[in-house]
């Protein structure tokens, strides 16, 4: 069985038809991980006992001829920012070294309820802060398409694992583009659902008004299936929404003919690499060929998104990361005389450079005398950015843009320039700030064979529209 091209339905029917057992499939994936992952670095921990127990349950159901749930036997992996009971969870940080959570995040519970077999935990930028995975405290991840390049971030391990066939699907998190940008860099599908669509209970918090959980998969249909499994209200997350969850897979069949797609000029301005532009423009032409009406639009406040994001996100992070103090869990420095010294040294030693930078920036933006100038100002500009989208969605059903201005860059290329790294998220942060859903799907390659991503955005809770358009494009490009 070719593990690199498996999708969810293929696994489920192979298991159902007893072509392979769920346990044998999980073992095959572990063998592949042991063989290939040393070159990629996608996994931080393997959960073999848990995976085999789950897989055996699926095999028992098959033996009894019971109906199989939608993800039955599907080997998946989880970004290390989602807590997993009994399986080490570090969020890519030394401050959570040896932390073994006593509970499961809701998204993980729902994946297992849907039959998924969780292989392990995936590398990421420390506390999901980064755009290249180079901020992982443990090791960088190499892009499977070109190992001299980054996989993107912060869900770099998730995108790389799926691209390299070391998991059929993965759960990632997106705060400023951390699902979509690595999906784009690795040539896979990454879906950020609407804010509140998927419970964040058990997601290690980075920026609470921006954090989302979502799938990274190889096909659009797989993204729909995983979203179906994890979406919906959760009493454990008061920000989760009780808006009804549609049948996303059924919605894929809807025609795209007659849909209006907006192309915002601000996303095709200076800084966009010509080869990325060309691939995205070709994709838009293809969508026009499928009967979509293409309309030029403007999202005038786009250039303010990155500065707004780096105030809001860092302010919230500085507060969320206050809990890492060496008392209840995680790393503690040795031999300090006083409590305050212990706090300061534990945090100074436990956090990496980017996390410290963001804690400092966020603390500064919230500090006395600066709150109005920075945090309040950013919250106001955030509203202007959200309004841009509201205006646009009066005229269009969805918006199409590049996911990232460049393809995957070289490892080490941007590590010394935080601002250059922040700009890698220029086309993705806007959706996080507005709370709207977005997807990145592969749309061709550069001459160096690096994948390019097409981003599709829609109104709040309109994941169906996004998935329908993405699916139609994917089908059309598969049959030229």
């Amino acid at each position: 069985m070719d593990l690199t091209s498996l999708n969810i339905d293929a696994v489920r029917s192979a298991v159902w038809e007893r072509k392979i057992s769920a346990t044998a499939l999980a073992s095959d994936f572990y063998a592949k991980i042991e063989l290939d992952d040393p070159k990629i670095g996608a996994y931080l921990a393997l959960s073999k006992d848990r995976a085999m127990a789950r897989a055996s349950e699926i095999d028992a159901r098959v033996a009894k001829g019971e109906d199989l749930p939608p993800l039955a036997g599907v080997p998946v992996a989880i970004k290390d920012v989602l807590v997993t009971r009994g399986v080490p969870t570090t969020a890519g940080s030394k401050v959570l070294r040896e932390y073994v959570p006593p509970y499961d995040s809701t998204a993980v519970v729902r994946m297992e309820q849907a039959g998924a077999v969780i292989l392990g935990k995936l590398n990421c930028d420390e506390f999901a802060m980064g755009s290249s995975n180079e901020n992982s405290a443990w090791r960088p991840v190499h892009n499977p398409r070109d190992r001299s390049r980054v996989p993107g971030g912060s869900s770099g391990g998730a995108a790389a694992a799926v691209a390299a066939g070391m998991a059929v699907a993965a759960l990632g998190s997106d705060t400023g583009g951390s699902i979509r940008q690595p999906a784009s860099f690795c040539g896979v599908v990454g879906l950020m659902p609407t804010y509140g669509r998927v419970s964040r209970y058990g997601l290690i918090a980075f920026a609470s008004s921006l954090d989302h959980v979502g799938p990274i998969t190889r096909t659009v249909k797989d993204a729909a299936i995983v979203l179906q499994a994890i979406a919906g209200y959760d009493p454990m997350d008061s920000t989760s929404s009780d808006t009804a969850v549609p049948n996303y897979v059924e919605e894929l069949k809807k025609p795209v003919h007659g849909l209006t797609l907006g192309v915002p000029k601000e996303y095709f301005a200076e800084g966009l690499e010509p080869e990325v532009r060309k691939a995205v423009e070709l994709a838009i032409q293809k969508l026009a060929g499928l009967g979509c009406e293409i309309v030029p639009i403007s999202l005038p406040h786009t250039k303010y998104a990155i500065p707004t994001y780096y105030i809001v996100a860092t302010a919230e992070a500085s507060s969320n990361l206050a809990r890492y103090d060496g008392v209840r869990y995680g790393y503690r420095t040795s031999a300090t005389k006083t409590l305050s010294e212990m706090y300061r040294r534990t945090r100074g030693q436990g956090f990496g450079p980017e996390v410290k930078r963001r804690i400092m920036l966020g603390t500064y933006a919230l500090s006395a005398g600066y709150y109005d100038a920075y945090y309040l100002k950013a919250q106001k500009v955030r509203r202007l950015l959200a309004r841009d989208f509201q205006e646009a969605f009066r005229k269009v059903d969805a918006i199409v843009t590049p996911t990232s201005p460049t393809p995957a860059f070289k490892l080490g290329e941007k590590v010394d320039d935080p601002l250059a790294m922040y700009l890698a998220d220029i086309y993705t942060v806007t959706a996080d700030l507005a709370g709207i859903p977005g997807i990145s799907i592969p749309c061709g390659e550069t001459t160096e064979k690096l994948p390019v991503g097409l981003q599709i955005l829609a109104r709040h809770f309109n994941e169906s529209t996004i998935l329908t358009v993405a699916h139609a494009y994917e089908q059309a490009s598969a049959s030229p």
Partner: protein, 133 residues
């Protein structure tokens, strides 16, 4: 709290720079003193090399953030949460729920709650001396 001593040492250097006028603030560079003060607020011990680097990085990011001052936001309502209902209208998330002991899930058993602690006697979390003299 134990950090009172830190606050007094820091002598609130930022207060001196406070101004209603945003332009004044953003035209200004962060100093090493500011970095030390903010690090103290954040309970973050930084080495001298880290402080130097932080000074450079924060100033470069803050210069970029100053772009926001181009926008007149005097009449814009700040967006403090982004939960949106299916109607597209903003609404406060969730609302209230009954406040019941162990209402949503059982509390963690005591031994499980302390098992990840760097230092515990099995009943309590142990920490260094709190009162500094």
């Amino acid at each position: 709290m134990a950090n009172i001593s830190l606050f007094s040492v820091a002598c609130f250097p930022l207060q001196n720079c406070y101004s209603e006028n945003i332009g004044h603030i953003t035209g200004m560079k962060i100093t090493d003193k500011n970095v030390a003060y903010v690090a103290a607020l954040a309970n973050l011990e930084l080495t001298e090399a880290e402080r130097e680097r932080m000074l450079r990085d924060l100033n470069s990011v803050l210069d970029y953030i100053a772009l926001l001052n181009e926008l007149d936001t005097a009449n814009v309502e700040p967006m403090s949460h982004i939960s949106i209902g299916s109607s597209g209208a903003e609404h406060s998330p969730a609302g209230t729920r009954e406040d019941i002991l162990e209402g949503l899930r059982k509390s963690l058993p005591h031994d499980i709650a302390v098992q990840n602690a760097p230092d515990s006697d099995g009943t309590f979390f142990r920490v260094p001396k709190v009162i500094e003299r």
